[in-house]
């Protein structure tokens, strides 16, 4: 079982020479190594089709690598049994690119979902969920179904769901991809506040280079199956 206490120098996420292929000559990721410090906020950039989403799927344990090692919270996941991965997943919040909200549930129920699966009684988290929806600006849309929400509102519900369990690691896949610039900036501020207030480690995959330049956080670039760290003075141009 993983240890819930993170030591200050233990990376939250560590990929060590990770590769992923779906057969010979079909490498999606060739040789990826990266490490995220606790409390850090990092952007993952790269051209379309470079494998950013695949890398994130490895990080939130939706995939297993075909080469190399993935460690989360100091635990090497490759050799863990399936049932031992569930506790690790509960420490990760994920904002999916396509939101993945459940259409038959209200905004409130969507956000509460990660807490429900832990078996906690609703009374113990009801106010937290309501407060969180208020924090993302949806305090008056608790009962709204996803079909009635705008793209930005859906995205904020998805973010609230990802952070409701106070995860140690927050992973977001193109969280500003479906919203306008103003909403993108608001969402980024939400992530930054979360990162600063709760010391949650944040990894954001994005195409939005304007946001990346403004943010001045760590930047990793994924291209040709490999990841390189991008220095502050080299963040102009294409993702």
């Amino acid at each position: 079982m993983p240890d819930n206490d993170l030591s200050t120098d233990e990376p939250v996420l560590r990929l060590d020479r990770v590769g992923l292929s779906y057969g010979p000559k079909s490498d999606v990721l060739a040789d990826v190594s990266l490490s995220l410090r606790p409390g850090s906020m990092t952007f993952l950039t790269g051209p379309s089709g470079s494998g950013k989403s695949t890398l994130l799927r490895l990080a939130y344990l939706a995939l297993r690598p075909t080469a190399g090692r993935v460690s989360l919270f100091g635990v090497e996941t490759n050799r863990l049994r399936r049932r031992d991965l569930a506790p690790l997943r509960r420490r990760i919040g994920v904002v999916f690119q396509e939101f993945r909200l459940l259409d038959h549930l209200s905004a409130y129920d969507n956000v509460a979902l990660p807490l429900r699966i832990t078996g906690r009684p609703e009374a113990s988290y009801r106010q937290d969920v309501i407060d969180l929806l208020g924090w993302v600006g949806l305090g008056d849309r608790l009962e709204a179904r996803p079909a009635t929400l705008s793209g930005g509102e859906k995205q904020r519900v998805a973010i609230a769901r990802a952070v409701v369990g106070k995860p140690d690691l927050l992973i977001a896949d193109e969280p500003t991809g479906n919203v306008d610039e103003e909403m993108g900036e608001r969402l980024y501020r939400l992530f930054r506040e979360l990162n600063r207030r709760l010391r949650t480690t944040v990894l954001i995959a994005t195409h939005d280079m304007a946001l990346v330049r403004r943010a001045k956080n760590d930047v990793l670039r994924l291209a040709e199956g490999m990841v390189v760290r991008v220095p502050l003075d080299q963040r102009e141009g294409q993702p």
């Binding site: 939130y60 344990l61 939706a62 995939l63 297993r64 399936r82 049932r83 991965l85 569930a86 506790p87 690790l88 997943r89 509960r90 420490r91 990760i92 994920v94 993945r100 459940l102 259409d103 038959h104 549930l105 209200s106 409130y108 129920d109 979902l113 990660p114 429900r116 699966i117 832990t118 609703e122 608790l142 009962e143």
Partner: protein
């Protein structure tokens, strides 16, 4: 504000179709179960009816019949012996010769009905032979064996039908669960990636299909009882020999069959759902 909305959406058309299928399977299984039980009960009733009885057929002068009655009545182990009148013999032949009456000139064999311990039959035959009376002792064993064989076969066929219907039900529910899982893969994946354990996810489907199985099974069992009752009632109204048919009653055994059918349907549904969901989840990391 709504509280604890179900994580799986309310039932859709697929589940309505599955409800109908499970209901139909349970109806057939419960009906087969009732038939099997009634067949075995009928075999018991028929054989116990003739157990402890023999029929002696006397060929010869009338005086031999009365002599035979005296000899039989005095044989050890015999409780009673009585010669049947011509009218009683005609009544016995009615199913084969019809109710129009038997010609007066037709020579009917004289029959003696005796009751007693089964071990006395050989003594009766020996005593009649010793008295030089031409008679045949029939302990109904051939008829009883035939009756047991026929009802046993009916019961076996019905039980095989129950087993086949049960297996079909499990297969159908497994298929339906798989289809539901595919349709709800978004929910399953989201729960899985959010850290839900396999048991939690399987439990959602188990509860859903348990309720469906119990409700559909209860309706099927009720329809089976109504059908069986109607068939037997209708047969008894039109057939004089209906007493020979398997008996449907509200005995404890019938009640058990009807009461257990929905529970078995529910348990089978739950089992099939659990197996299917966990097998599908094992394909995920």
């Amino acid at each position: 504000m709504s509280r604890a909305a179900p994580l799986l959406p309310r039932e859709d058309a697929r589940e309505a179709a599955l409800f109908f299928v499970v209901c139909a399977l349970c109806f057939l299984a419960a009906l087969s179960g009732l038939i099997a039980r009634a067949a075995y009960a009928a075999a018991d009733a028929w054989t116990s009816e003739v157990a402890g009885e023999i029929t002696i057929r006397v060929r010869g002068p009338e005086a031999d019949t009365q002599r035979a009655v005296d000899i039989i009545a005095n044989t050890e182990g015999i409780a009673s012996a009585q010669a049947l009148t011509r009218e009683e013999s005609e009544e016995l032949l009615k199913p084969w010769l019809g109710g129009a009456g038997i010609p007066a000139g037709l020579n009917l064999p004289r029959l003696i009905a005796a009751e007693g311990a089964a071990g006395a039959w050989d003594s009766v035959a020996a005593a009649l032979k010793q008295a030089n009376i031409n008679a045949t002792v029939d302990d109904h064993e051939t008829w009883s064996a035939d009756a047991r064989r026929v009802t046993g076969t009916i019961g076996l066929v019905a039980l095989s039908a129950v087993a086949l219907l049960g297996a079909t039900g499990i297969a159908v529910i497994a298929f339906a669960t798989h289809a539901t899982m595919l349709a709800r893969r978004d929910i399953v994946e989201l729960l899985h990636l959010s850290g839900a354990r396999d048991d939690f996810i399987a439990g959602l489907f188990e509860r859903r299909f348990l309720m469906l199985g119990v409700q559909a099974g209860a309706l099927g069992a009720l329809l089976a009882f109504a059908t069986a009752a109607f068939i037997l009632f209708a047969v008894r109204q039109t057939d004089e020999q209906a007493w020979l048919l398997p008996q449907l009653s509200l005995s404890l055994a019938d009640g058990l069959i009807l009461g257990l059918s929905p529970l078995i349907a529910g348990a089978a549904s739950m089992f099939a759902a659990n197996l299917t969901v966990k097998r599908s989840l094992s394909d995920m990391v």
